[in-house]
């Protein structure tokens, strides 16, 4: 499995990382090096094997569905680049 330039740009867009034209060939080479390294996993017969979903077998912890935290919006927004009235400000989202 290898990726072409079009795929590299598509992946970059999915990952929301801007890539310049100049960067694409190099990235393509690096990604293909990694992809060819992982090819060997196809050698293994995984028929009937369950994917690992829980590293350490445990029952998921649950708690009462109640409010136990919060009430400090100012702390939550204090690191933001742009805020107003405890909202995070961003450029236009919807046309």
């Amino acid at each position: 499995m290898s990726v072409d330039e079009k795929t590299v740009r598509r992946i970059a867009h999915l990952a929301r990382i801007a890539v310049t034209d100049a960067e694409v060939p190099h990235l393509q080479g690096e990604l293909n090096a990694i992809l060819s390294f992982v090819e060997q996993l196809n050698e293994v017969d995984v028929e009937g094997v369950e994917p690992m979903t829980s590293v350490t077998p445990m029952i998921m912890k649950k708690r009462e569905d109640g409010v136990t935290d919060g009430g400090y919006a100012d702390k939550i927004v204090q690191n933001a680049p742009a805020t107003e009235d405890n909202f995070f400000l961003v450029p236009k989202v919807i046309e």
Binding site: A18, F37, V46, V55, T56, N79, V93
Partner: protein
């Protein structure tokens, strides 16, 4: 250490500053209790040593005022006869742990000037036990790397040098010559412990990031069982692989630190509700009656003969100490590294989606929201991080998810099963090399092919993939005078046996002689 005039005893020593920084945690703990010195003196000695060692770039942030305030509070508690398990002990904190009110960078530009308004559970546990924070330690960006060369704040210089090397302190304060890497991602932590810039350090391990740098620097590092330590407040790389653990100069010190770091946490649902054993008590158990496995698949092509020899030596030491040593098989070993380089980047692509310039950190302006995201992330992430996010995005994308991610997760089940079957045969721990080589020079690996750097983790990733505990312990020096470590892999939640076995190795190998300060 207790004397009638402890202050006079201290002044009689030729260089009291050096003395205090060369203690172990256990010795410092005893010295503080005996009032041979104060926590404030201990902190001051370390602050001075750190100032002289800036060229190593182990600390990204020094917090001397905080350290002195915490040390004073420790002295007040000690005077009252109170005090926790780590009272007054000065530690360095890998800059992946969120520390309340103190910048946390994850070794990246993208977090900007982020000051967490909360404390990670691990560091909260340490402060509750009285430890003192000296500063935040350098790391590979977002814990992705094996040499501390990907940090946005520059590489860390290992305090170790090859015999006859040209590395030395330059006149301008920088280090001259082709210095060595301390390993990664916890390079700052390992370098600081080895260079006597803290008594111990916190670190994290996703594919080997505690054990590999510990092995490269002649220190002890343990990655506990997945779920032994809370991940709350620790910047996430790969959530099913990450575990925090200590790096220290002795097995006893690592056991002391882990006991404080570990424990149940309601805020982390993957953290097990198990009481924390007294790890320090376990180190003197010995290995009589234990069965140690030597996995044949860890004998890889091109393995350094010195490392192979040390591995045999380790087995002999354990035999001499009363353990039974047997050959075992872990058939899917070779697939752990490629499977890891699917699972870890996939989880990272998800975890790092939050760095979008909206709620914290760096923001690059964009004409609309997508443009803001793309420009911010392009500017804020380094090359290795971008590479891993993109691989992760690809293997999770429609059409490829089954072929890559699901298949890699199935390999994980097989890798874990290999270990379970060996343990079911009565094996208590598995002995392997920690790394395929000693520490290499900066720039020597990975510039052409990223996979070359990934091969550093070949002996360590299996342990994260299976969720088991693993410890690296110094076992000797190579022909160039560089440390080599051995790794022990244990049963789930049986860190006690790992500590006991590692202690047997430390007893046989002897305490490694750490480098004297050549960098000042």
């Amino acid at each position: 250490m207790a004397g009638t005039c402890p202050a006079m005893t201290l002044k009689q020593r030729s260089s009291p500053v050096t003395e205090l920084t060369h203690l172990t945690i256990a010795e410092a703990r005893d010295g503080l209790k005996a009032k041979s010195f104060s926590a404030s003196e201990l902190a001051k000695a370390h602050i001075a040593a750190i100032e002289k060692a800036r060229a190593l770039n182990a600390y990204v942030l020094e917090t001397p005022e905080k350290a002195l305030a915490m040390a004073k509070a420790s002295d007040d508690r000690i005077a009252k006869g109170e005090g926790g398990a780590l009272e007054g002990i000065p530690l360095g904190i890998k800059d992946l742990f969120c520390t309340d009110g103190t910048t946390t960078t994850a070794g990246s530009k993208i977090l900007g000037n982020f000051h967490p308004p909360y404390e990670s559970t691990v560091t909260r546990n340490l402060w509750n036990d009285g430890a003192v924070m000296l500063g935040k330690l350098n790391l590979d960006e977002f814990a992705m790397g094996s040499s501390n060369e990907t940090s946005a704040f520059g590489p860390v210089v290992s305090p170790w040098r090859r015999e006859g090397s040209n590395v030395g302190a330059g006149t301008s304060g920088a280090i001259e010559g082709n210095h060595l890497v301390p390993g990664g991602s916890s390079g700052g932590s390992a370098a600081a412990v080895a260079a006597h810039l803290c008594l111990g350090a916190t670190a994290t391990d996703t594919g080997g990031s505690i054990r590999q740098p510990a092995a490269f620097t002649g220190t002890v590092g343990i990655k506990p069982t997945y779920g032994r330590v809370s991940r709350w407040g620790t910047v996430a790389f790969a959530s099913s692989l990450d575990q925090a653990g200590p790096i220290a100069r002795t097995v006893r010190d690592a056991a002391i630190m882990l006991r404080s770091m570990a424990g149940p946490d309601a805020k982390d649902t993957t953290c097990a509700d198990l009481p924390v054993p007294d790890f320090e008590a376990a180190i003197s158990r010995g290995v009589k009656g234990l069965k140690i496995g030597i996995p044949k698949e860890y004998r890889v092509d091109g393995m350094s003969p010195e490392i192979e020899q040390l591995w045999h030596q380790g087995a002999e030491w354990l035999r001499a100490a009363g353990a039974e040593v047997v050959e075992v098989s872990l058939p899917h070993t070779k697939y752990a590294l490629p499977a890891y380089y699917i699972v870890a980047p996939a989880e990272a692509s998800s975890n790092l989606a939050r760095y979008d310039g909206v709620r914290y950190g760096l923001r690059e302006n964009g004409k609309d929201i997508v443009d803001l995201y793309e420009k911010t992330r392009a500017a804020g992430f380094g090359r290795e991080v971008k590479r891993r996010i993109m691989i992760g995005t690809y293997v999770l994308s429609a059409g490829y998810y089954d072929a890559y991610y699901v298949r890699a997760q199935k390999l994980r089940t097989l890798i874990k099963r290999d270990f379970e079957e060996v343990y079911a045969q009565g094996v208590h721990a598995i002995l392997t090399p920690a790394t395929p080589s000693a520490a290499f020079g900066i720039g020597e690996k990975g510039s052409g092919d990223p996979v070359e750097m990934y091969l550093n983790d070949i002996f360590t990733v299996t342990v994260n993939m299976a969720g088991l505990p693993g410890i690296a312990v110094p076992a000797g020096l190579d022909s160039q005078g560089l440390p080599l470590g051995l790794q022990l892999i244990g049963r789930a939640f049986d860190e006690e046996t790992l500590f006991a076995t590692a202690q047997a190795i430390e007893d046989a190998a002897g305490r490694i002689k750490l480098p004297q300060a050549w960098w000042a």
